[in-house]
């Protein structure tokens, strides 16, 4: 039997419109119910917001790695979460050694600089080797091939680091100068959150200027627009791609350390979830778009932090805090359905 539908509205459109309306109604009703119960005061919401921004700025840093690589290669580097893990997991040993020898808390700035350097350089090296070994030979292969390779590389890296460093979850040593709170305009904010947000913003601003105002940044944009012409402008395309992976790795390595400031523990599988979340953020912002990845990361972090409570608590859903991943991935699905090119991306 054939369904008869109005000429300009297909069956699929109808379902999509229904879905749109349902989501809006659900969000409004849920938010209204939660807010009218008034469980959480202004301070409570503010705390959730800050948690969200801190978490989101880490997503943003990782998302930049996805988006930069997509920009030059048009592939999703699904092993990027492992690039993130590799740095921070390796830096764990530096951190413990520094803590044991008393340097970390005796001369914290020096100690932190070393930890950051170890993590960033490790992630960078892993990212560059990954590109050289796993992706470059497949440059001319159909697009599905490097995608599958990336998933393989992701597993390979996870289990390589598991056999190197063990399968246990390890705790980073406490860094004394980062415990406690800052008072910012009368609002107490945890020092770690302040450090995370400020460092992430500095790195992102730095990256933006790097891409806009330097020789290599321009070369990256040129390669992203047209590889053949970029080569004819004297750009060594292979080297630019390598550099892009290196910069994505540096950012992921820094994000790793910021991540342990907030969550304190490392393990071989720690890259998976933040990796997928950051991928979501990159898609949300428009994959390939640098500012999009930053905004997407922040938006996802805040939504994840506030969303479950705001939308669901008033509807009587218990322990909404555990539903943050559900909210994040629902968002991914919705973005892919309604705006696959993202917030700032362009329709192709």
């Amino acid at each position: 039997m054939r369904l008869r539908l109005p000429e300009r509205l297909s069956f699929v459109d109808l379902i999509l419109w229904g879905l749109r309306v349902a989501i809006v109604v659900f969000v409004l009703v849920g938010s209204y119910a939660t807010l009218s119960q008034g469980v959480l005061g202004f301070d409570g919401w503010r705390t959730l917001l800050i948690v969200g921004v801190a978490q989101g700025s880490i997503y943003a840093l990782i998302a930049l790695g996805y988006t930069l690589v997509y920009g030059v290669l048009f592939m999703i580097n699904f092993a990027h979460g492992e690039v993130f893990m590799a740095g921070v997991f390796t830096a764990f040993f530096a951190a413990t050694a520094l803590a044991d020898s008393g340097i970390l808390n005796g001369n914290p700035l020096f100690g932190l600089a070393i930890i950051f350097a170890v993590s960033m350089v490790t992630s960078m090296v892993v990212a560059v080797i990954l590109e050289r070994v796993a992706y470059r030979p497949l440059r001319r292969a159909p697009r599905l091939v490097p995608l599958i390779t990336a998933i393989g590389a992701s597993l390979f890296l996870q289990y390589t680091f598991r056999s190197l460093y063990g399968s246990g979850v390890r705790s980073y040593p406490t860094i004394e100068i980062l415990t406690g709170t800052f008072d910012i305009a009368g609002v107490p904010i945890q020092k770690t959150q302040v450090v995370v947000i400020v460092s992430a913003i500095l790195l992102m601003v730095g990256l933006y200027f790097f891409v806009q105002r330097t020789r290599t940044g321009r070369a990256m944009r040129a390669v992203s627009e047209d590889k053949d012409v970029a080569a004819m402008m004297g750009i060594n395309v292979d080297r630019v791609i390598s550099t892009t992976f290196a910069i994505g790795g540096l950012l992921a390595g820094a994000a790793g350390i910021l991540y342990v400031f907030l969550f304190n523990s490392v393990s071989f599988s720690m890259g998976f979830l933040p990796g997928i979340k950051a991928f979501t953020a990159a898609v949300l912002g428009g994959i390939g778009n640098i500012v999009g990845a930053m905004l997407g990361g922040l938006f996802l972090g805040v939504l994840e932090s506030i969303g479950p409570f705001l939308f669901l608590d008033g509807l009587g859903v218990p322990s909404t805090n555990q539903l943050r991943d559900v909210v994040a991935f629902t968002l991914l699905v919705l973005v892919l359905i309604f705006r696959p090119y993202g917030i700032l991306g362009r329709k192709e």
């Binding site: 040129a222 004819m232 395309v237 290196a246």
Partner: protein, 283 residues
């Protein structure tokens, strides 16, 4: 013809005399010997010998599909020849990648404009200067002072080039895609010149232009050689442009060189007329 062209013509005549021995022309900036390019069973270029004398304007013409762009692409490293030899300034460039050939001093534009359309006019020209810049990415991260100096010098040079090709200042920060068509062509030339080429390859620089713009472009090409002292290889369909500006003309048909010589010789060459108009025109 402008007075400045006599130089090139003399050299060109010498080439003619030497053509039989297939010796490199004295003072030739580019020498191509028995170049062959096959794509599977299709022969796109067969045994092409070709010289570009210093400071000359040489045109490559031929019907559509004659293998002109394929030939161009081999000179710039975008394609590798199947057989044959290409020397630029006495150095073999076969096997080199495009970015290495640019570094040696070959710049080019494209038949269908291929600017970086999302980048500003200024950024396009600055990308063109990539091979003449030295700063590395980690130096930029470390904020070394010479990175900033080089950036400033490059911006200055790019501005001069935009002036040279006659692109208005107000377009500097405009995305390339928003420029009028003729200006996009000029911008492509500025971008190619940014690498300080000794040889400039122009692939149909007047395609899609109206007669007025074409006239100005023809004049500009002559002026480029006069002012910058570079050699120019031109692919062009507009015979008025080719005849007006070239020192020498080479004709390709079905991938083979069928004629070579001064504009007047080519104009009257029966083989060339046949290639363009078909046998019926003769009959």
């Amino acid at each position: 013809m402008p007075a400045g062209l006599t130089d090139g013509v003399e050299q060109a005549t010498m080439t003619d005399a030497a053509a039989d021995e297939v010796e490199p022309t004295r003072g030739a900036i580019m020498v191509v010997r028995s170049l062959t390019k096959r794509f599977g069973g299709l022969v796109a270029n067969r045994n092409v010998d070709f010289d570009i004398p210093q400071r000359s304007i040489v045109s490559l013409i031929g019907p559509n599909g004659a293998g002109k762009t394929t030939f161009f692409n081999q000179l710039t490293g975008m394609l590798q020849p199947t057989e044959g030899e290409i020397e630029f300034n006495g150095v073999s460039i076969v096997g080199l990648g495009p970015h290495q050939i640019v570094e040696l001093g070959v710049g080019r534009t494209f038949q269908n404009i291929r600017l970086f359309s999302d980048m500003t006019a200024m950024a396009n020209v600055m990308v063109g200067r990539h091979s003449r810049m030295k700063s590395q990415w980690y130096e930029a991260i470390l904020h070394l002072p010479r990175v900033r100096e080089e950036e400033e010098a490059t911006r200055q040079r790019a501005r001069e080039l935009l002036d040279l090709v006659g692109l208005a200042r107000r377009y500097e920060d405009e995305s390339a895609k928003n420029l009028p068509y003729g200006d996009q062509r000029r911008l492509e030339i500025a971008r190619a010149l940014a690498s300080d080429p000794k040889l400039l390859l122009l692939d149909e620089p007047t395609a899609g232009m109206n007669p007025g713009e074409t006239g100005r472009m023809t004049e500009f090409i002559g002026q480029l050689r006069r002012d910058l002292g570079i050699s120019i290889l031109l692919i062009e369909h507009d015979m008025k442009v080719v005849m007006g500006v070239s020192d020498r003309i080479t004709v390709l048909d079905y991938g083979e060189k069928i004629a070579e010589g001064l504009p007047e010789e080519i104009r009257t060459n029966p083989q060339v007329i046949e290639a363009y108009l078909g046998k019926q025109a003769h009959a």
